[in-house]
């Protein structure tokens, strides 16, 4: 077994990284928004919203992928509209990013929501008496204080995106260089006799990337914790 990577493997790795990074990037802002609403607001239908957020987790990934295909496919009702604006998702890496983002969405929302719920509203009230409006309060008080939750959400979302397979292959197929991510490549290798060695090589690659991401996140988490005083002596 050698780690000297073939061209296709490099392509899968870099594509996976690109897809995962974009998946996290596009789903983070809505995740923060939804988490905030779920943590801080009470309204009829809140449980329904929460249930909907959890759907990608509950549905078999194939189903999610299929629904994405129906919705964002070239003939899907959203896909058609997007196509008019020049945005094509189906069978493109952008679609893979969308799929991975959606699959990781519930994880990100949860982590961030937990963090928001743990923020003492008294601090926000203090900021309010100092003249900070809602947006300023969020930006200067809430957001820095939920940094650990956002970081956790990003790590979960990224890891999930790196490992996502079912929805991705169903939505955007397994096209080398365009939509063949690491897991898709692993799948393809596993489908043929003797492909295990190559699959293992890719799996090790995925593990190394994940390890790197987690290492970075742990280091960041320590910094963040110190910054927001969570590590202060008792």
């Amino acid at each position: 077994m050698t780690l000297g990577l073939g061209e296709a493997e490099w392509a899968a790795l870099t594509l996976s990284l690109k897809v995962s990074a974009w998946a996290v990037a596009i789903s983070l802002p809505p995740a923060v928004a939804v988490a905030w609403v779920l943590a801080r607001k009470r309204f009829p239908g809140k449980a329904l919203l929460s249930a909907m957020v959890h759907l990608p987790l509950v549905l078999p990934p194939v189903v999610t992928g299929y629904l994405l295909l129906l919705t964002f496919g070239t003939n899907g009702f959203v896909g058609r509209v997007l196509a008019d604006w020049g945005i094509v998702l189906a069978f493109r890496w952008t679609g893979a990013a969308l799929a991975a983002g959606i699959m990781g969405f519930p994880l990100m929302v949860r982590a961030i929501r937990l963090a928001i719920e743990a923020v003492d509203p008294k601090l926000e009230a203090a900021a309010e008496t100092l003249g900070a409006g809602r947006a300023a309060r969020f930006r200067t008080v809430t957001l820095p204080l939920i940094a650990p939750g956002i970081l956790a959400g990003v790590v979960l979302g990224f890891a999930k995106a790196m490992g996502e397979f079912g929805a991705t292959i169903t939505f955007v197929a397994n096209i080398p260089g365009e939509t063949q991510t690491l897991p898709s490549a692993v799948y393809a290798f596993l489908q043929v006799p003797g492909g295990e060695a190559a699959a293992i090589r890719l799996v090790v690659l995925a593990i190394v990337v994940a390890l790197g991401a987690v290492l970075v996140s742990e280091w960041l988490a320590r910094r963040v914790a110190r910054r927001i005083g969570q590590e202060a002596p008792r």
Partner: protein
Amino acid sequence: MSLSVEIGHRFPGLDLDVAFEAGAGVTALFGPSGAGKSSVVNAIAGLLRPDAGRIALADTVLFDAAQGVHLPAARRRIGYVFQDGRLFPHMRVGANIEYGARFAPGGLDRAEMKRVVALLGLEALLVRRPGTLSGGEKQRVALARAWLSRPRLLLMDEPLAALDEPRKDEIFPYLERLRDVAQVPIVYVSHNLAEVARLADDLVVMQRGQVVLSGRAEAVLSDPKALPLVGIREAGAILPAHVAEHGTDGLSRLTLSGGELLLPGVVAPEGSTIRLRVLAQDVLLSKAAPEGLSSHNVLPVVVLALHRGMGPGVAVQLRAGEDVFLARITQRAATEMGLEPGMTCFAILNATAIPRGSIGGAAGVSPG
């Protein structure tokens, strides 16, 4: 700029029903733990929306239940020193202090900030995180933060409870200046009557969610009815006095309507009017004019009334010129001296017995 408060609110276990007016200057909220002081202050700040009532600051209606008006706290421009500090744990002390100024018209006044930081002894703390501060340090930072947000009204919920006397003595003149020069009205919650007496123009005494006594601080404090509310040790009057002359030995000659006193530590300029706090327990009575005494502060007085409470004490209401104040002596002494309304005698006010902290300057106090 006057504040008018009239609110009703039900908590499980407490019905808040409070109305008072607070003019320019300092209004003290005084009352036992759980009386509802913080709740009133929260309502003024906009953090508690009462069930009923109306709150207005000068021309601005902050809250009106009937009209459905509830101005968000962020738009009230009311500084608030919280009883529980509430520093932002993710910002260094410096950033905490500067926080409010971002939203204030005109931004941060660096010179003012330097002064406040020096006054509160925060220079060495600016780069520290709130998590590592001591209790008193936290409170000082909170004070600086509210102060520098350039509020139109300052709410202070026991801001000095964690501070030592020398530090308090340093801070008082600045609060007085804020009140007098910047014309920022202050609502001041405190259990400490010495603080209240020093700072307060108006006094609102609360109990179980209700206002039980309110009015000008002088009037409330010299009212014998206030005695059980404020505690025997803290009862006393506030007298206006005119600064006639500063002596070279540090003693100042003050003229009252009923005589003259010599006091140390008066910083108000000659010609100004200041307030003196005279605790009932710091007044001695003598039938004859005392001689060879270490105190020069003897005023001829007329006995107005004797209030016998429970226990061995008597509160004697006295008049010196136009000023009314109390002396607290024992029953036995009252009987032996044969005190009766209408009698004249002499009151000895121990000069050093009038706390320096109780000498509030009316205007232009130069901070010490």
